[in-house]
C-alpha cells in the first residue's frame, strides 16, 4: 500500500499520480497498480515517470476500467503498488536521443533526468510525438539539450540521429518499429515493449514476446530490449 500525495489531470485523459515510496527504482521499470479488491481482477502495469526524494510519480492515460478507477483517487487515498519490476533501461554513457510517442513518453522523463545526473556533460536530445494534444514537453525542455515536438504527424519524419547517440524509444509499437527501422545500424536502439500482464513477476508466462534468442518475458526479461532482439531490422 502506498499513500497518494497527489493525483491530478495534466491533459485530456492524462493523469499524474504521486505516491510516497522508498527503495531503489530504475528508469524503465514499472509497478503493478491496484486500487480495488477483486474487480477488476488484475493489477495494471504502469511505468515509473519519476522518482525523487521519496516521491514516486506515474503518468497514465485513462483507457478502461482500471485506469478510470485510478483517475478517481485523491490525495490521502491508498493504492497498492507492487514493484519495481522489469529490467529498466541500461545505464547510458555516450550521448542520448529519446523518441517518445503519446503516453509512451511516460518512462522517458525519469530516464532523461537520471541520464543528466549521471552524465552532466553528455548531450541529450528528445523527440516527442503526440496524436492531437502534447503534454509534458516543458518538463523535458527543462532537462534536455534539444526537444523536437510533433503533433499529428509522424515523428520518424523529423528524426535525425547523430553518430554515437544511443537511442531509446517508447510508444505505440508501430512507431517503435519505424524508429528501429530508421536509425542507422551503428547506433544502439533500445525499445520498451508492452504486453498484457497477469502476475508481473515471471510466473504466468502471459506476457511472452518472441525474440531472436527465443521467448522472453516482457515483465522480467523486459520491458526494455535492444531493437535487434524484437524487431526485424
Amino acid at each position: 500500500m502506498a499513500v497518494i500525495l497527489s493525483n491530478t489531470l495534466v491533459s485530456a485523459g492524462i493523469f499524474k499520480m504521486t505516491v510516497a515510496f522508498t527503495g531503489a527504482v530504475k528508469p524503465g521499470q514499472f509497478f503493478m497498480l491496484r486500487a480495488w479488491d477483486k474487480d477488476p481482477l488484475l493489477s495494471r502495469p504502469i511505468s515509473v515517470h519519476n522518482y525523487e526524494s521519496g516521491q514516486l510519480t506515474f503518468l497514465y492515460q485513462v483507457v478502461g476500467k482500471g485506469t478510470e478507477i485510478l483517475a478517481r483517487l485523491q490525495a490521502d487515498d491508498e493504492v497498492t503498488i507492487q514493484g519495481p519490476y522489469g529490467n529498466g533501461f541500461p545505464e547510458i554513457t555516450g550521448d542520448l536521443c529519446v523518441v517518445g510517442g503519446g503516453i509512451g513518453t511516460a518512462p522517458l522523463y525519469y530516464l532523461v533526468r537520471h541520464y543528466q545526473e549521471q552524465n552532466p556533460t553528455g548531450k541529450c536530445r528528445v523527440y516527442l510525438g503526440f496524436r492531437d494534444i502534447a503534454y509534458g514537453a516543458d518538463a523535458f525542455a527543462a532537462l534536455a539539450d534539444e526537444v523536437v515536438l510533433d503533433v499529428g504527424g509522424i515523428i520518424t519524419d523529423k528524426l535525425t540521429v547523430l553518430p554515437g547517440e544511443t537511442v531509446v524509444t517508447c510508444g505505440p509499437e508501430i512507431m517503435m518499429a519505424a524508429v528501429a527501422g530508421a536509425v542507422p545500424a551503428e547506433n544502439t536502439v533500445y525499445v520498451s515493449l508492452e504486453a498484457h500482464m497477469a502476475c508481473g513477476i515471471g510466473a504466468c508466462l502471459g506476457c511472452t514476446c518472441e525474440t531472436r534468442s527465443g521467448n522472453k518475458k516482457v515483465c522480467t526479461d523486459g520491458p526494455v530490449f535492444v531493437r535487434e532482439e524484437v524487431f526485424n531490422v
Binding site: L41, I201, A203, C204, T208, E210
Partner: protein, 301 residues
C-alpha cells in the same frame, strides 16, 4: 505445522491443504519474494511436456468480469530441463511437491512419466485437460473412455502416485472421474480452465491466435464447486479442488463439497499473498468453530 490443517491425501501428509495451482505459480521461485514457500501445503509445477514448448503466439491474457482467459499453450522448458534446473531447487523446499505433466500423444505422456521416475516427487498431476493445445491435452480428458485408457497406461509405468486433472469441457465429470479411479488413479484434481472465446468487435477479429482460450478465476467458482461435489460423490479417491478460489471462505466451501486439498490459481495474480491468507483463514475458522481438524467439515453437504 498446524494441527488444525494437517491433511492426508491418501498417505501423503500435507501440512495444510493449500497448494498454488499449476501454471499460476511458475516453479515457485517468483513468489519467494513474498513469503516462505515452506508455509504452503504443497507446490505444483507448471505443466510440463516431454519436449520444450514455446507456447501459443499472439495475445495470451484477456481479463473478463471476475475472470481471466489465458492462452499460454503450455509453454515450458521440457521434462529434462525441469529435472536439471528446477527440481534441485524445488525438492529442497520443505513441502509436498507435485509435478504436472501434459502430453500430445500417448508416447509423449509415457516417456515423460518414465523420465520422472528418476526423481522423488510425492505426486504427479496428470494433465489431460489443457484446452490450449491443439494436439492431445484435453482430447484425452473429455471422454471417460480415453481418460481411463491413458490413466491406466500411466499408472502402470509410474512409480509415483497419479492424480488425474479433469477438464470441465467434456462428458459428465463424474463419469470421467469414475473411469480414472477404475484405471488406478490415486486422486482427482479439478477443474482445469473452461473453454471460452473473446472477439474484438472493433477489429472484427478474434482475440486469440488459438481461437479459444481457458477461463479461470472467481467467475468459474460456482461451476467448479458443483463439479467438485459431483466428483466427490462419485469416487472414493481423494479430490484436490480448484476453480475460482479467492479467499478462505471459498476454500471452505470446496472442503464442505468434499475436497481434501485445494489449489489456488488465478487469485495469486490479484493478491500474491492469497494462499497464505487462505491458510490463516482456515485455521482461524477451525479455532472459532472448535474443530480439532478441518477434515471434520469435509463433505458435510
Amino acid at each position: 505445522m498446524s494441527k488444525y490443517l494437517a491433511t492426508k491425501f491418501n498417505d501423503i501428509r500435507f501440512k495444510n491443504p493449500v497448494i498454488p495451482a499449476s501454471g499460476t505459480f511458475g516453479f515457485g521461485r517468483e513468489y519467494e519474494a513474498f513469503y516462505d514457500l515452506a508455509k504452503l501445503g504443497g507446490l505444483c509445477s507448471k505443466g510440463l511436456t516431454l519436449e520444450p514448448k514455446s507456447g501459443n503466439t499472439g495475445m495470451r491474457l484477456w481479463e473478463t468480469p471476475a475472470g481471466l482467459m489465458n492462452s499460454i499453450g503450455l509453454e515450458n522448458p521440457g521434462i529434462d530441463a525441469f529435472i536439471e534446473n528446477e527440481w534441485p531447487h524445488l525438492k529442497e523446499i520443505d513441502t509436498v511437491t507435485i509435478v504436472n505433466v501434459g502430453g500430445k500423444d500417448e508416447e509423449s505422456y509415457l516417456t515423460a512419466i518414465e523420465k520422472l521416475n528418476a526423481i522423488d516427487a510425492q505426486l504427479i498431476e496428470l494433465n489431460i485437460s489443457c484446452p490450449n493445445v491443439k494436439a492431445g491435452g484435453m482430447a484425452y480428458g473429455i471422454k471417460a473412455e480415453t481418460a481411463g485408457e491413458i490413466t491406466r497406461k500411466v499408472v502402470e509405468i509410474s512409480r509415483h502416485p497419479i492424480m488425474v486433472k479433469l477438464s470441465p469441457n467434456g462428458e459428465a465429470v463424474a463419469d470421467i472421474a469414475r473411469a480414472c479411479e477404475a484405471a488406478g488413479a490415486q486422486g482427482i484434481s479439478l477443474i482445469n480452465t473452461l473453454q471460452g472465446m473473446a472477439i474484438d468487435y472493433k477489429k472484427k477479429k478474434v482475440i486469440f491466435d488459438n481461437l479459444y482460450a481457458g477461463l479461470s478465476g472467481p467467475a468459474v467458482k460456482p461451476i467448479a464447486l458443483r463439479m467438485t461435489h459431483q466428483v466427490c460423490q462419485a469416487v472414493k479417491i481423494p479430490v484436490m479442488a480448484m476453480g475460482g478460489i479467492s479467499d478462505w471462505k471459498d476454500a471452505l466451501e470446496f472442503i464442505m463439497a468434499g475436497a481434501t486439498c485445494l489449489q489456488i490459481g488465478t487469485i495469486n495474480f490479484n493478491n500474491p499473498m492469497a494462499p497464505i491468507e487462505i491458510i490463516a483463514g482456515l485455521e482461524a475458522y477451525c479455532i472459532n468453530e472448535g474443530l480439532a481438524n478441518i477434515s471434520e467439515v469435509r463433505g458435510i453437504v
